[in-house]
Symmetry: C2
Subunit: 141 residues, 2 copies
Amino acid sequence: MQYATPEDAEAAFYHAFQHADLAAMMDVWADREFIECIHPLSGRVRGRSAIEASWQRIFSSGQQLRIICSDVHRTQDSLLAIHVLHEHLEIRGANERRAAIVATNIYQLVDGSWRMVLHHASPSASSSGTAAENNAGRQLH
Amino acid sequence: MQYATPEDAEAAFYHAFQHADLAAMMDVWADREFIECIHPLSGRVRGRSAIEASWQRIFSSGQQLRIICSDVHRTQDSLLAIHVLHEHLEIRGANERRAAIVATNIYQLVDGSWRMVLHHASPSASSSGTAAENNAGRQLH
């Protein structure tokens, strides 16, 4: 696919995420060695094959997800676009849970199409974490 | 100060952070409304005055910090630079602690100087969080 704008690439990213569509997910990512993905409270994952394996693990859980994005804050120049936003995840099923994530998504214009080069996601203060976790987190920084 | 390269701006950022120097810290940040800062497990902080207040709260704790950065992964075009790295924080004193943070730092060339426009920091998998926290985090995404 070609993504004419960073917004198109972002829509494809969240559609693939919500539908556990690995091929569509990897289509959004740039074919570059330097791409990097940070899932919440996980280590850094770098390069296409490692990033693909990380999404495969997530998708293999079979969780039914609904994702709503809000508070999208965008800036860009001619080749790079930065989006910071909240992801509101609803995990459906017997153990229904909600999670609030803050994500930094960076897109690069590569061969005429915008592609993701970085996804950094972490629990936000309004996440379901305990007060103790949040307090510990604040003390870290 | 003028920062000739994103690396210069980054060095000034971590020097200010380690020395709790609020004026030096705010000098690194771009004078733009768009700027955004995400401290570990905290909410998003946007705009200069809110970002300054957040660092003032952190610095007012009087913690003696040592920060070592590693695994710095850089990409940039003519106007934007993206650095992803590990911050290893040592909090000195009676309750000495260590924390591993993953940070995405974005710099923009503004009026001939590189300035920070985004800092997104979150606990990494090798952080001091409990296994349960890390497991919960992984399940979120």
